[in-house]
Symmetry: C2
Subunit: 380 residues, 2 copies
């Protein structure tokens, strides 16, 4: 194998596929990045067997030569060293060549690296996905959906299926749901599909996969293909394939958890409310339960308090609008509500309570595509 490649583009691709490489893998070959050169260009692959990322660099793009392949072939190089080396190479062009016994030479300017490569035949093949369930949505929208739901997945392995985000598609609408059983985040979005009958549920993508995917997604409305199979999901962008395994197990039916009645409700400006809660959180951390108390007062005022007995307490009053229903005192995990308010894309929210001991719902007032559900905390 021998090729000369544009350094910046190579670095970019190596950084992408490196995101899938774990140094803690038990499969030695997976500590490497696979490099394949063909007449069409160079393909890089990284994988930790949960996530696999493949990035392709074509020989030409927009009339610019990116790669000149002098000899086809393949090699696997240690990701840890390889990624750092390409970043630090001095010139705009890199020459990579493989000799006998996987001995690999990387040249750029006057720098010459001789690396011991690994046998590319040992590298596992990427999953083959059948393209029955395919839909498309803009890249920036997907990035936003991940931001608005991914934070709510469970970090505990007691119920593994809750460490993922559940995807449901019906009536050309995607519904993403994440819950750790104390809070729930839901986000809907319109999708594009050739099959208007496309329908599936219980497709659970590990939260970790989505947070890695989010790092390679860009702020553009270019469409991304999502291909769903029995055990894998594939996100296909321009020259990039991102595979993730799906989580086994039955995701809980969350539809029925969302209360439809109201005992107390109000609207409030998102940002001032978030800042009030952040101040209250300063004195609610000691017991590690982040308890913040909310109380409705006269004339639409809301009182937020928290206390750490040894240190002190904080009290703040904030104006709501359209306050109606019964008087309310409720305590909740302030950190959970803050997490949600940080990702709400609406200047105002609508909060509906169903009693001091029952879940409450936060919705944006500007659209009905998102919902956050919280369990209260018993404080006695």
């Amino acid at each position: 194998m021998q090729f000369v490649i544009n350094r910046d583009r190579f670095v970019h691709s190596v950084q992408h596929v490196s995101k899938a490489v774990s140094s803690r893998t038990t499969i030695p070959i997976l500590t490497g990045i696979k490099i394949v050169a063909t007449k069409e260009g160079v393909t890089l692959t990284g994988s930790d067997s949960d996530i696999s990322i493949e990035s392709f660099i074509p020989t030409e793009e927009n009339d610019k030569v990116l790669v000149e392949v002098l000899e086809e072939g393949s090699i696997v190089l240690q990701a840890k060293y390889f990624a750092e080396i390409v970043k630090k190479l001095p010139e705009g062009q890199i020459e990579l060549s493989v000799q006998d016994q996987f001995a690999t030479t990387i040249r750029s300017g006057s720098a010459v690296f001789n690396l011991n490569g690994l046998d590319p035949e040992e590298y596992p093949r990427l999953p083959q996905v059948e393209e029955h369930h395919v839909f498309r949505l803009p890249q920036d929208l997907l990035k936003n959906i991940i931001r608005q739901t991914g934070f709510a997945v469970s970090t505990q392995e007691t119920r593994p299926v809750l460490t993922g985000v559940n995807l449901t598609v019906e009536n050309e609408e995607l519904i993403c749901t994440a819950t750790d059983s104390h809070r729930l985040a839901m986000r809907k979005a319109k999708i594009e599909t050739n099959n208007t009958e496309l329908h599936f549920e219980n497709v659970v993508i590990p939260g970790k996969s989505l947070s890695e995917l989010s790092k390679v997604l860009e702020e553009t409305d270019q469409l991304i293909d999502v291909v769903v199979t029995e055990s894998q999901v594939l996100f296909r962008l321009n020259n990039l394939l991102f595979f993730s395994r799906l989580l086994d197990g039955k995701y809980p039916v969350t539809k029925n958890m969302i209360p439809t009645h109201s005992k107390t409700e109000f609207k409030i400006k998102t940002k001032p409310f978030l800042q009030t809660l952040e101040r209250a959180l300063l004195l609610s951390r000691e017991g590690k339960n982040n308890v913040i108390n909310l109380k409705t007062l006269e004339e639409g005022e809301i009182e937020i308090t928290s206390i750490t007995p040894e240190i002190g307490k904080v009290t703040e009053k904030i104006k709501s609008s359209d306050l109606s229903g019964e008087d309310l005192r409720i305590s909740f995990n302030g950190k959970n509500v803050i997490d949600a308010l940080k990702v709400v894309d609406s200047e105002e929210i609508h909060i509906v309570f169903t009693g001091a001991m029952s879940p409450f719902v936060v919705r944006p007032t500007e659209h009905d595509l998102a919902l956050h559900l919280f369990s209260p905390v018993r404080t006695y």
Copy 2:
């Protein structure tokens, strides 16, 4: 005690004095920040008994009212909470008042924090320094000197005196020296003083103190006073006092360590040489000794190599100028040389070797105010 204070200025001062507060202190009162209000303004103090920082906010500055003191007094508040609280307060003004039993109220807008304060009488007094040994230098120059020497202090407690930077003053010149016994960094600077006879040596300031001091220094040529006593040093800026204890023990005499003869020497451009070494370091880390090899070639070329047997090796040739003396092969700790080249403020350096097993010296070619000394590494 009761005062109303400009929030931004208060936050700025609290952040400064917080740098001296350690959460791991064995003296409970030192987990707090002392606040004293007088007719002149508000003084904040933080200390971990090694470092003490005092910041003063005058009632007025440049015709702008900063503090309105309604009642004089003092209090100590838990630094951890207090610093976070003032940062997050909603309005431009903060009211702080102390009631009975050190109960303290902080108000800003609609936010009210009630904190349990500590007895200010328990707070230790700052050291009293006699101002016999005083000199002045620009703030930005001091910041630069710290950057150019502080990295070379020892991080090991086996010889505590080497964890500090040694200050010597003679003939209105300051000489700062740091060494961990494998490398040495020295920086000289002209100082201003009213006593042209000012002379001292063996004043050793802990490296940690200097790195904290560096964070409060700004990029301005405003002069800073340095007051040296038997056991303390005081840095006095506009409205800020920074005290540090000095390290006990005899600092080694480093003057005689610096070789005066030369067996091989050359000049080389700092940045390309630094980048070459950084590439070589990529393959010299495995053994944790960071060994890089240097070899002189024909026609002023220098060859830099490093090797990690399991991974591979790197070779790079780089042009030097004015190469003279014997042929040389030498190995050294590449990380140490890289640390020094990063702080050299000269486009070109002059390296003088005294043999493969003897120390070598790096000097800027543009001035003679700095010097770096390195021991070679035996590789056989």
